[in-house]
Amino acid sequence: MMRRSRPLLALGLSVLLLAGCSPSSPGGGVETETATWTLGTGQEVTCVRSTEAEPAEKPIDDRTLRLGAYGENFVTSTLSTVGYNNLIAISTIYDGLFAKDFETGEILCRIAESYEFIPDETGEGMTLHIVIREGVHFQSGDPITAEDCFASTVGRVETVGTVRTYLGDTIDVEHSWYEGERDLYIKMYQYDSTILECLSCQWLNVGNLSFEATATDDDLWDNVDGSGPYIVEEQISGDSVLLKVDDNYWGWGIVDERPNFDYLSVKFYSEASIMTIDYERGKIDACIGLSFNDTKRMMSQGAAHSSTRIVSSGNYTVICLPTYVEAFQDARVREAIFCAIDTDAAAKAAYGALGIPMNSYVSSMAPYRREYHTNKYDPERAKALLAEAGYPPGALSFYTVVSANDTCSVALAEIIQSFLDDVGVELTIDTFDFPAALQMQRNGEVDLCITTFYTMNSDISGCFIQLPEGSYNKAAWLTQLDPELDAKLKEGRYTQSTQTAEAAYAWIQDWLDEQMWYIPMVEYNTSFVCRDYVDDSGFYNLMHTRDIRNLDLIER
């Protein structure tokens, strides 16, 4: 009895296991059409639409748009509008002074009615004069005043570290001011007016000063007084947020059209693959931040009644060879590392359908971008160079740290490690939680820094923000090597003439290509999928999540 029952049970269980794990059959031969185009912002968009004549029936109630997002929900304070936090709630609850239309690249006025640049008499920089729209108010009914706007924009530069990183040398806090209820003057150090594009993306969310002065953290969680079109109805930590369309929003018919739904629910997932299961099961109408293999499946097999988009995000990963590592002082070693890694193959393997190999030192959206032959993969040459520099195989060993919970960057590190291993260079990878890994990288505790630039904007200076000595990432400091690099960075940023800027940025990129302290690895995209009853025609930028406001349900 015993001998018979055990194998049988074992067989039964393994069949059950295999049934669950076996590859799914292709989605019933859904026809797809693919389109690719470039936006006014320089972003590239790829869209795969399944071609069914009849749109799918929306299963439950028609008045809710249900989104799925990868990540966590957060306190909805305007203070946390930057960094890596999930911005979905914040970008729907609050309005900014401006917004950027990612389709055309234009700056749209939101709370601001108009703006002008006033050249400074002293000749240093310029002043941005903003006039605030009449009749704008918070969700509580309080009018939005110049004071609120001043506190939310200029005030942030002093209080929030990340904002200072990006804007500290752009906005002159001391010389900015406001007058009366509607006039705001922001003094800039620089002349380049395209900075407004960058500012309008996410920096200038306006919060109610008098509310924030008394609000507890719990008020900021689900009882917030925002300036935007959505009210937080309910927020469940680690699970979801339910937003209600505010019918009293000042902007309906002025800057926005009221959507066809009443509620926007966002469910957060800690596992991206599970999000797509829910999507396929009809539990959510759209997914933001698909994993690359889910994207690949959606795009190649064609999910029924769906439109899948890949949009370039401007985020890219480079390897910085820190100047403080002695071996890297030798240009031959740097070139050898460059030659050892097949960056194109690494990009594809680590980021799949979402990774684009880089042929430049800046994001694909950046102006003044120049292309280079950055994939110098040639292991033989790498070995020869190392031997020439006096490092036989096994002589060099480096240490790097990556964030443990980012599977893509762990995979990328493993690929780099294996490529370096081919040429006799040992790379030790340590994994830590995200903040510890970041802190170690930035404190200069690594020999080889795999770092990501979250540029997000079509602003080239954002791509060089880590270069100056004293910036927050020690591994990336380069200006101490060549005073001219520092001069050119400043020149490019603070010049009034586009020709000068172009020349300066060309010089910098040539310098980077020549010196080889940076190895551009991969620029990665974000992707999005929604059912065909969701109107995603205005949805282009997933990094800022503000474009969620452009989503709508198609009226039937």
Partner: protein, 307 residues
């Protein structure tokens, strides 16, 4: 009896104090700086000092510890989450009940399935049922819960679409996390019950009882079960904590809005206050379960000294 319980209950307090101390110390020496994280690694000296002072991080270790305890005892205040910005207490009030429910259902399931199957299996030794139970419990005792979760999601959510894969919208959402977090322990309780039943059944007094002509059911219920359950109860006490804590990864896999997924996020983001609070709370639950086990001991094992 009451004295015994009160004495055991009072012991919970120093135990918990030590637990707080241990966790606090470990976190204190964990690399990573919450102030730096808060400012995203870009801050001025004054800002750093100000934030550190606000969070009390500039004080010496022991003072920090005393303050931490004081805030918990007097204000039920676990500090702020360095990551989400919310007060940890308000985070816990929504998440703790969810996890507690999951944990208690799992523990209940462990007892309600594990013990009866162990008994049946032992009383019908060498029957097909015994072999079946033995094999299944052997299998599940070896399956990591998070792997079971993944496989179940693939089968029941992705393939068959019977069960929701994530979140907490209806009671069906509990099914998979409960199974995943209890399967392993059900299996080990079954195995333990079976073997201790078998041991007891062979004892002389059982033989005597049978010889007296007492019916088999009475023998099992009255004589064997009580004695066999002693080691089982010990094991339940030891595993209750494991069941509750083991659901941490499972919750994260299922995007289940409980303390486990909170803990995982906190670990990934250096959120000390949250980590401390979660461990503390779960340890408290374990202490209470152990207290319960001590009481059950008195009830089933007359030999326990109730002074």
């Amino acid at each position: 009896m009451a004295k015994y319980i009160i004495k055991n209950a009072l012991m919970v307090i120093p135990t918990m104090l030590c637990v707080v101390f241990i966790i606090f110390t470990i976190n204190y020496f964990t690399p990573g700086d919450p102030v730096a994280v808060f400012y995203d690694f870009d801050y001025t000296e004054e800002q750093y000092a100000e934030k550190a002072a606000e969070w009390g991080l500039d004080q010496p270790f022991f003072q920090q510890f005393v303050n931490y305890i004081k805030n918990i005892v007097t204000k039920l205040d676990f500090g702020y989450s360095y990551y989400s910005g919310k007060s940890v207490m308000s985070e816990l009030t929504t998440r703790f009940p969810v996890s507690l429910k999951l944990g208690l259902i799992s523990v209940a399931l462990t007892v309600l399935i594990g013990v009866p199957f162990g008994i049946i299996s032992a009383t019908r030794q060498y029957s097909p049922l015994d072999y079946g139970v033995t094999f299944i419990s052997l299998f599940f005792a070896a399956v990591p819960g998070f792997w079971l979760s993944m496989i179940m999601i693939l089968i029941f959510s992705s393939r068959l679409g019977w069960l929701p894969s994530s979140g907490l919208t209806s009671w069906t959402c509990y099914i998979m996390p409960v199974i995943a977090s209890s399967a392993q322990y059900i299996a080990s309780i079954t195995r333990q019950t079976r073997s201790s039943m078998l041991e007891v059944i062979r004892q002389d007094y059982i033989r005597t009882a049978r010889a007296k002509g007492v019916s088999e059911g009475v023998v099992i219920r009255r004589h064997a079960l009580r004695n066999a359950l002693i080691p089982v109860v010990t094991l339940i006490g030891m595993q209750a904590g494991a069941v509750i804590a083991g659901s941490a990864i499972i919750e994260a896999v299922h995007s289940f809005p409980g303390m486990g997924s909170l803990m995982m996020t906190a670990i990934n983001n250096k959120d000390y206050n949250t980590i401390q609070a979660v461990v503390l709370l779960l340890s408290g639950v374990v202490c209470l379960i152990n207290l319960l086990v001590d009481i059950v001991y008195v009830w089933i094992d007359p030999r326990v000294n109730v002074r």
